[in-house]
Structure formats: structure tokens, C-alpha cells
Amino acid sequence: MDKKSFKGYLYLLPSIIIMLAFTIYPLIRAIIMSFLGDYSIINHGYTSIGFENYKALFADPDFALSLRNTTIYVICVVPASIILSLIIAVLINSCTKTKAFFQTVYFLPYVTSVIAIGIVWRWMFNSNYGLINYFLGLFGIDPIPWLNRPEYAMPALIIFAIWKSMAFNILIFLAGLQTIPEDLYRAARIDSTPKLRVFTRITVPQLAPMIVYSSVIGMIGAFKVYNEVFSLFQGKAGPANKAMTIVYFIYDKFYNSYKYGVAAAGSVVLFIIILVMTQIQLRVTGEKKKK
């Protein structure tokens, strides 16, 4: 039975075909395309070969804006979501009877369509009849034109994104909390450790691998944000495209402006960013494992 045979490939065949056709080939092609100019039918050749697309990409103010917005988005959404999720997860974990109930409720956003719920958020952000402005009004705050003014577009997007991303983080942290031995908490109790110190000195360090994992997954997700923008701003990238993100930029160049080369160059940049993130994650989790 140790005899190697090619039979294994028979089992892999469907997956390999799909992967070659829809993952490997497009990856290579996107990279090649990013170095080629537009195809000219007259000359039967490409108008340019080289870094022209990348030059165009980095000269494009929309791309700079999308990088800026994505960075702001990452900086605001990821830490806020992680800190809030951590607090909620620890609180849920300390419940006994209501634990399953809270877990079910808090996970709900994860399974729902971003498109549909984005439309609901759009309605809640409505300047005149929206629920959010109504609540703010109760505290004497004037109605905010969330979706119509560029300066409020990003905050609206960030609130929606935090709401959406907490579900996954809470779940991961809850799972992580289960793996912390109960005896550590008992020992801490015998040692009369204040609750806050238990949290900072035992819970957080013990959860460190999950926190790193959630951060990286959150960052990767944040760099790829698109559906949230599309649904919240009804297919636009916010008022005057001020909530432009990297992926929105790529699709816009490719689907609306037919600038395939620039879109490909943008996607290669995205790929590199995500590759770096993944490497960081592998490095960190790998080191943990060695220990």
C-alpha cells in the first residue's frame, strides 16, 4: 500500500481544474496585465510594456484617496472592534444561564447579507427620518447628514463595519476563553487578584494568539472592504466618491472605466499588502507554537 500511484490525482482532478482555471491562471494573468498597456487592434500589440500602469495608479488621486480611506478604516475599525469584542466576550463568558442566548444574538450580523443589512443601515442613517439622528436628537445633537456629506461618510461606514465585524471577533474570543484553564482563575482568586488585574494579567495574555489572529483577519478584511460601501452608498463610493476604498477603486477602473491594466496593477498592490499581513500572522502564530 505504500506504492505511490497517480490515483490520488483522480480524486483531486475537479479541484485542480477549478483552481487552475479560476485562481492560478487569473493570478498570473493579473500580474502580467499589470505590466501591459492597452491592447491596440490596429497595431496588434500592446501600447506599452513596463511600469506604466503602476505610474498611472500612483498618480491617480482616487487611488491615493482609497489608500488613505482604507488605512483610516483599518485603524478605526480593527482596534475598536477588537477591544469592544473582547469586553463583550469576557462578559458573556462570565454568564452561565444567559451565555448561549447572548452568543446567538451577538453572532447574528455574521450570517446576514451585507447588502441587505447595509440597506437597512442606510435607512437608519437617513438624515431626516433615520433612527440614529433621532437618538442623537434626544441628546440635543442636531441631525447629521451622514450619507450626503463627505466628512460623515467614513464615520458612517466605520460604525457599520464595527457592528458587522464584532460578531466574528466575539466568537473567536469566546472560543479562546474556553481554553483558559479554570484553575488559573481560581488561583488568581485565592491570590485575591483584583478583577481588572485578572483581565489584564491573565485573560489578555492568554488570549494573545486569538487577538493577533483576529487583528490580522480584521485587517485583511478591512483592506478588501467593498460590499459595505456599495450598499451603504447605493452603489457609489460615498458622496463625491469620498469613501473610495482599494477594492472599490479596482472594480471602478475595470468595470466602469475599462482600464484593465490599472485595475490589475491595483489588485497586485492589494495582493502584496495582504501577503505581508498573512506573513506577519504566520510569523506570530508560528512563534507561539514553537514555545
Binding site: 447579507s113 437597512v120 447605493q234
Partner: protein, 279 residues
């Protein structure tokens, strides 16, 4: 002293539940608001202060939304795409995971690493070329276009391979001794032993297919082929200010998954946790 501590504990518990309940309300508010808005009259919608529940639920909104756009058609399309994709994913995932976990073939490690490496590629990067491919294959506006590219997932293969690896090798050897073929072993032993993991993968895939948005939007043109999420966005543009109808349509997209979730949350939560803690 212990009296003081007791008071402190009570306050801490109240505070804890206050935070949890506030967070829970924040979490489900959009859902509640969606349902409540979908049952309101246009004047109730713009009423200040807003009412949490409509005076008389306007079920007619659903009828109207259903009639205003071919949602029945969208619904069927979504169902077809979701079910076909999920069946495809299950078949390719089980076959591949079995090959990686039990069969011995040249280049196995390399192929497996290659599969793993594809997990790092953002799908957003591939869409440009894949769209061209679909055009070149003349698949635009067909179920094929929405299904075929998604019937294999390196991620689920990786996940299930890990589950299959946990089945003791000795079972495989015992089956070999009993003259059980590889394929039969896979169907009779591996699949039933890991049915919970396979079920979790199926549900996770159903949810992601159901909620898929961008790809179906790109590869379909005609109204007949549209799926719910695309139909909803189109309807939102067409229906303009009929918010109650838009909310009713959103409900139609969201509710089936929420119902599945409420019934099968154990599998979903476990599936996401397992795949989340893969490191």
C-alpha cells in the same frame, strides 16, 4: 466587610448585564428596525418620534414588493445557485480532502502547499480575469457562470483534510485488510465519521452563496438570471422612496438565513470557530 463586598458584587452584575443588554440591542437593532419598517405605512415611516412597532402591521407591503419586482424568480435563482454550488463544494472537498489525508501520490506535499498558498490570494484580484474567462466561454447570463467557479474551495479542503487526518490511520489499514477499496472507504467510513464537519461546511457555504453579491452582479445581465441580492439592489434604485417595500425585500433576503441560523446555530458557530482557530 463581606456586606460591602456583596453590594459590590450586585452592582458589578447589574453593570455587566447593562453592558451586555445595551450591546445586544445595538446588535439586533438593524434587524428589528428592518422588520418593523417593512410593516409600516409610508406615513408611519417618517413619523417623528419614530414608533418601534407599526400600529397595524402592513403585511400588504410584502405582497406589493413581491409583485413590484420578480422576486419569486430571484428567489428560485438564488436557491438553484446556492444548492448547486454547495453540492459541488461538498463533492470536490470530500474527494480532495480524502486524497490529501489518505492517498499516497507523487507531489502530494507540493500540491497541498499550492492549495494552501492560494488562500492568501484575495479573490478580489481574480475577478477581472475570471470575468473575461466567463465572456470567452460564452457563459455570461447563465447558472454555470455563477456556479462553476465556486464549486471548489481551498479553504474547505484544508479544513476537512485536518478533520480527515484525525481519523486513525489504523482504520484505513484495517479496511485495506478487509479488501475495502479506497472509494468505498471514503464513502462508508470517512464521510460518516466526519458528517458533522461536512455538515458545518455545507451550512457555511450555503450562507456565503446566498449572500454572494458582486460576482453574480458581474456575470448576469438579464432580469431572468438575477439573484436576490442583485435584485434587491436593483429594486432599491427602482422603488426609490418606497422604503417600506425596500425593507420588505431586504427581509426576504435576510430572513431565510436567519431562520437557518436560529435552527442550526450550533453547527454554524462550531464551523466558524473551528475554521477560525485553524492556526
Amino acid at each position: 466587610m463581606s456586606q460591602k463586598r456583596k453590594v459590590g458584587n450586585v452592582i458589578a452584575t447589574i453593570l455587566k448585564y447593562a453592558v451586555l443588554i445595551f450591546g445586544a440591542i445595538f446588535t439586533i437593532l438593524p434587524f428589528v428596525w428592518m422588520i418593523s419598517s417593512s410593516l409600516k405605512t409610508p406615513s408611519e415611516l417618517v413619523q417623528i418620534p419614530p414608533s418601534l412597532f407599526p400600529e397595524t402591521p402592513q403585511w400588504v407591503n410584502y405582497q406589493e414588493a413581491w409583485k413590484a419586482a420578480p422576486f419569486a424568480r430571484y428567489f428560485v435563482n438564488t436557491l438553484i445557485v446556492t444548492l448547486c454550488t454547495t453540492c459541488g463544494v461538498l463533492v470536490t472537498t470530500v474527494l480532495s480532502a480524502f486524497a490529501f489525508s489518505r492517498l499516497n501520490f507523487p507531489g502530494k506535499k507540493t500540491v497541498f502547499s499550492l492549495f494552501l498558498a492560494t488562500l492568501m490570494i484575495p479573490g478580489e484580484m481574480l475577478i477581472i480575469t475570471n470575468y473575461e474567462t466567463i465572456i470567452n466561454l460564452h457563459w455570461i447570463d447563465s447558472y454555470k457562470a455563477m456556479i462553476i467557479p465556486w464549486i471548489s474551495s481551498a479553504f474547505y479542503i484544508y479544513l476537512l483534510t485536518r478533520f480527515f487526518m484525525q481519523v486513525p490511520e489504523s482504520l484505513y489499514l484495517a479496511a485495506k485488510v478487509d479488501k475495502c477499496s479506497d472509494f468505498k472507504y471514503m464513502i462508508k467510513i470517512m464521510v460518516p465519521m466526519n458528517k458533522q464537519a461536512i455538515f458545518s461546511i455545507a451550512i457555511l457555504n450555503i450562507i456565503s452563496s446566498w449572500n454572494a453579491f458582486l460576482w453574480p452582479l458581474l456575470v448576469t445581465n438579464s432580469q431572468e438570471m438575477r439573484v436576490l441580492s442583485n435584485g434587491l439592489v436593483r429594486f432599491q434604485t427602482e422603488a426609490g422612496s418606497s422604503t417600506e417595500l425596500i425593507m420588505a425585500a431586504s427581509c426576504m433576503l435576510v430572513m431565510p438565513i436567519i431562520i437557518i441560523y436560529l435552527f442550526l446555530r450550533k453547527y454554524i458557530i462550531e464551523g466558524v470557530t473551528r475554521s477560525g482557530l485553524k492556526g
